[in-house]
């Protein structure tokens, strides 16, 4: 969820309904990292960052994916487990039926993209996955089998193409 204030006022607003879904420090870090990674795009560029904010508003899907990936980096850098971002998004963003006319990507696409990013850059957290038995992670494993198969094919074929996740 993108708060208007995240970009225009450079404020991270913590909504109570989102905060209530946070269960531990990793998930809190996920929530904050996600918002900070968006807000940070408004800090430089033309008109003191106003133009970049406008770009995010105009192309929210594109920058949603970017913010997810940057959030993973921030979490790892700050010493948190990035797998918690998958759990946090799984909890707070229900899967839509389709995303053709939506301002958001399908949650399944976002999660698959985050999973690929973690696998590529921080595989340590997948190998030593402390959230494996978490019910939300289990749900992710159940619903992402096709997407993970696509990732496996990409790795086996050494392809550099972007995967079109479902």
């Amino acid at each position: 969820m993108i708060s208007d204030k995240t970009l225009t006022k450079r404020e991270v607003v913590v909504y109570d309904d989102l905060y209530k879904s946070v269960e531990n420090d990793d998930e809190l870090a996920a929530m904050l990292a996600r918002e900070i990674s968006l807000a940070i795009r408004s800090f430089d560029g033309v008109c003191n960052g106003f133009l970049r904010s406008l770009q995010v508003k105009v192309a929210p899907k594109k920058f949603e994916m970017v913010a997810d990936k940057r959030a993973v980096d921030y979490m790892v850098s700050a010493g948190y487990d990035p797998v918690a971002l998958i759990i946090y998004i799984q909890k707070t963003s229900p899967q839509l039926r389709f995303d053709m006319i939506s301002a958001h990507n399908l949650t399944s696409k976002r999660l698959a993209s985050i999973y690929e990013y973690i696998y590529t850059k921080y595989p340590y957290f997948l190998k030593n996955n402390q959230y494996l038995n978490n019910e939300y992670y289990q749900n992710f494993l159940l619903t992402s089998s096709n997407n993970r198969r696509l990732l496996e094919e990409k790795i086996k074929t050494n392809s550099k193409e972007k995967i079109k996740y479902e």
């Binding site: 594109k62 850098s77 696998y119 590529t120 494996l132 790795i155």
Partner: protein
């Protein structure tokens, strides 16, 4: 009593079956089980009072024509463009190899939104990576500063304003020899 025992037996059996349904991450098991992976570097202690930052100019060793040539995880090679001096000592000589990793590739889009490549994980021999700029974003030609005013200007004449949606932003290009500036923070922990 017999009935009670049967119910207990059923509950025990059912709980074992449901326990067996916990999914494993087969993909991660298959790909990572036989690899030794070190935990990534973290950066948990900052000194916000310390603003010492030494500029490190690096130049690209090869050309990337557009973001289409780059892929996430790609290693790009640079060289330091000049000596880096700290406290009257050369800490990084000119020509020292530097590697960076393509973290994220953002394609160009409608409304003049430029493509960009986010570089990170900079590595220089003898310098701790955690003391270097964590990421650098290289943008293509940004036309949105032109598109948005034009769109608003043409709004009274529908549908001409909408046509500006189709103006695409520029591709990213990193030319051989082009320089970017990183910062080395010697006092960061």
């Amino acid at each position: 009593m017999n009935k009670f025992l049967k119910i207990i037996l059923c509950i025990v059996l059912l709980s074992q079956v449901s326990g067996a349904f916990a999914l494993e991450d087969e993909f991660a098991d298959k790909m990572l089980s036989d690899k030794f992976i070190e935990p990534p570097e973290t950066h948990e202690v900052y000194d916000y009072q310390d603003t010492t930052a030494i500029p490190v100019k690096i130049s690209a060793s090869s050309t990337i024509k557009s973001e289409k040539d780059a892929y996430e995880g790609q290693i790009i090679e640079f060289k330091t463009a000049e000596n880096v001096i700290y406290k009257h000592n050369v800490i990084i000589p000119k020509g020292t190899p530097v590697t960076a990793r393509v973290e994220t590739v953002i394609s160009n889009g409608m409304n003049g939104i430029p493509a960009s490549i986010i570089l990170g994980n900079f590595k220089i021999d003898g310098i701790e990576s955690s003391k270097l700029t964590s990421s650098y974003e290289k943008f293509g030609l940004d036309l949105s500063w032109l598109v948005f005013p034009l769109k608003w200007l043409l709004t009274p004449l529908p549908p001409t304003g909408t046509l500006t949606n189709f103006i695409k932003g520029g591709h990213v290009k990193i030319k051989e020899g082009s320089t970017i500036t990183l910062f080395y923070h010697p006092n960061w922990i």
